[in-house]
């Protein structure tokens, strides 16, 4: 084991190896998966031997629909005889972008506004929360339809932005709930007592303590969002076909679910691995930095 290596020897290694040496093996596996999936999504066009994700082999007499996993198609083919592996790799682009947009906008804007109003309370609180309720009550589908109609296009940027925007209110509520309780804790009172500026308390005391819960919410939310994008595709409202995404793939598989379950299983597995890996690596990164053990 690397932990048994003499510290003097370990210190001479390049930093990246020292970094990796501290990782438990599960975390190494998770980090590798994340690197692989992101790299594959970015460089999908350059991967040798990867099939065209939209090539429907059965139309040209090579390959059949709903093939099981095999040598010609590692993960099999879907009900349009398209290569599932290729569709998962290209689909990662849409799924990861949408999930990232939701998590980023939710954590940054929702986290900031929620922490702010949970800390200062009063009129700011009731105003911001009323706006949040309006956004929550406004049917999301109608918003999406309106934006798509007004802009006249339905590409990844539009979908990711709308889903990201709609993610802000729930994160605001979760951040506020935790900020309410944290603002009454001893260390905040202590900071007030020694005359720390409000802004400093917000950024140095409240937000860092809201973040673990918010990130835990982000992880479960990311999985939900990836599937939600598939539900939108089911209504014909996501990124235009034949562009693939994990959610879309899972959703499209329902037609032939009795014949062939693989098209539903593979993207679901990719989703589980990705979300779990994010969780695991995030947890590990936090544990590196904090004295108290992280709860992510």
């Amino acid at each position: 084991m690397d932990t048994a290596v003499d510290p003097a020897v370990a210190a001479r290694r390049p930093w990246i190896r020292r970094f990796v040496a501290k990782m438990p093996w599960v975390t190494r596996f998770c980090a590798s998966w994340l690197i692989v999936i992101v790299a594959a999504a970015v460089f999908a066009d350059l991967i040798p031997g990867l099939a065209d994700p939209n090539y429907q082999g059965f139309l040209f007499g090579d390959g059949a629909t709903n093939e099981g996993p095999g040598l010609s198609h590692f993960l099999g083919t879907d009900n349009n005889s398209r290569d599932i592996l290729a569709r998962i790799v290209y689909g990662a682009r849409v799924s990861l972008t949408v999930a990232l947009a939701a998590v980023f906008m939710g954590v940054v804007f929702g986290g900031f506004f929620g922490s702010l109003v949970g800390f200062v309370r009063g009129k700011t609180d009731s105003t911001v929360m009323a706006v949040v309720d309006v956004i929550l009550a406004f049917p999301g589908l109608v918003l999406l339809l309106t934006v798509v109609t007004l802009l006249g296009r339905r590409d990844l940027v539009v979908i990711a932005t709308v889903i990201g925007f709609l993610s802000i209110p729930p994160y605001t509520r979760v951040a506020r709930a935790n900020a309410l309780s944290i603002s009454r804790r001893e260390f905040v009172t202590a900071a007030r007592a020694i005359g720390t500026k409000k802004r400093t308390i917000l950024f140095r005391e409240v937000i860092p303590n809201v973040l673990p819960t918010l990130l835990a919410y982000a992880m479960v939310n990311a999985a939900v969002i990836i599937l939600l994008e598939g539900a939108l595709a089911f209504l014909g409202l996501s990124v235009e076909p034949p562009t693939s995404s994990w959610g879309t793939m899972v959703n499209a598989s329902r037609v032939d679910l009795q014949i062939n379950v693989w098209p539903a299983i593979w993207p679901s597995l990719a989703l589980v691995f990705t979300v779990y890996s994010l969780n695991n690596v995030g947890d590990w990164l936090r544990r590196l930095r904090s004295v108290r053990s992280a709860a992510l």
Binding site: V142, L145, T213, A216, V220, V272, S293
Partner: protein, 334 residues
């Protein structure tokens, strides 16, 4: 009392803002006239009347008769008036308890809501009961021995539950419990409460599983944070039993995120759950809302928006009250 009055004002403001936005959005989406009279809406009736376009009755073309229908529909739904006036008219009707009439089948929206809402509410209630009953003991067990084998397995299990799409889970449950073993009815049955509850068991499980996973993750995270606090160390030092510490000391202050997300999900589920309603043939609000949104049937969308907005404000009020119960320190210093 003052708090209640302030909340009522907030409720009215939220409902008005949400419905006004919805109203504007629905009217920019498409011509509602199209939904009332169909393709005839596209006919340039002024031109027909002026004789510029030939009147080809009965050949799928335009006719003066069709134009009379169009004019009548415009009159009936006040579609000639400018948008703010129509919105004002809708609000006025709403205050008198009139939700308007659906464009689709000319049914009063209040009838549609009264028919659909109870089913969605019942489904929501069952799903939430299931999710909470599963997630709270599960999170307590996992957080008690954090990062041990059981906790790690739970984390993977929870993400598995989240990643399993609800239609796949729904179809699997449907196959075994309805088709193979014939334990539950294949569609929603509405005879009495027992039958209703029975036909909602599977949909509630389908909806509840991802909810349970979400609640589990949030409660576990917060529990682990709470268990590192000084008062827990103190309780341990006093020699209190672990069970007592988990239930009486740690659980309550750890429930902020859980209660918040519970409130969000509950309010969202008032609006129904499209896919689950479709798999199990439940005539709930979710299907009505999605169909109405796509068809520009805005009276129905607006009616549902009123219900959902009221739900959000009411539930968030309740959630705020629960916060101060969970942690007395949160109470307003007044």
């Amino acid at each position: 009392m003052i708090v209640l009055a302030r909340r009522l004002v907030q409720l009215v403001a939220v409902v008005l803002a949400a419905t006004f936005l919805t109203f504007t959005a629905m009217n920019t989406l498409g011509d509602p006239l199209f939904n009332v009279v169909g393709f005839v809406a596209a006919v340039d009736c002024d031109a027909v009347e002026a004789g510029e376009i030939e009147d080809i009755s009965g050949q799928g073309g335009t006719s003066l008769g069709d134009c009379a229908v169009v004019a009548e529909a415009r009159e009936e739904f006040h579609l000639n008036e400018p948008l703010p006036i129509r919105y004002g008219r809708w609000v006025g009707d709403l205050i008198r308890g009139d939700f308007g009439t659906s464009f689709k089948n000319r049914m009063p929206v209040s009838t549609v809501l009264a028919d659909r809402l109870p089913k969605s509410l019942l489904l929501m209630g069952m799903a939430e009961v299931f999710a909470v009953a599963l997630s709270v003991p599960w999170a307590l067990a996992a957080a008690y021995r954090a990062n041990r084998a059981m906790d790690r397995a739970s984390t993977i299990g929870a993400f598995g539950m989240l990643a399993l799409p609800n239609f796949a889970l729904g179809v699997i449950l449907f196959y075994f419990f309805v088709v193979k073993w014939q334990i539950f009815p294949s569609r929603f049955e509405d005879d009495n409460l027992a039958v209703r509850l029975k036909s909602l068991v599977l949909p509630a499980l389908t909806l509840g599983m991802p909810l349970a996973a979400t609640y589990f993750r949030l409660l576990r995270t917060d529990l682990i944070t709470t268990l590192q606090e000084d008062f827990v160390v103190m309780a341990k030092a006093k020699g209190l039993s672990n069970r007592w510490i988990m239930f009486r000391h740690a659980l309550r202050p750890s429930m902020f995120s859980l209660v918040t997300v519970f409130g969000l999900n509950t309010a969202a589920l008032i609006g129904g759950a499209l896919i689950v309603e479709q798999i199990f043939s439940i005539p709930g609000l979710g299907r009505a809302l999605v169909e109405a949104s796509i068809r520009d049937d805005y009276p129905v969308v607006l009616g549902a928006t009123v219900v959902i907005a009221t739900g959000f404000v009411a539930i968030n009020f309740a959630v705020d009250l629960v916060y101060s119960y969970l942690d007395p320190r949160v109470r307003r210093e007044s």
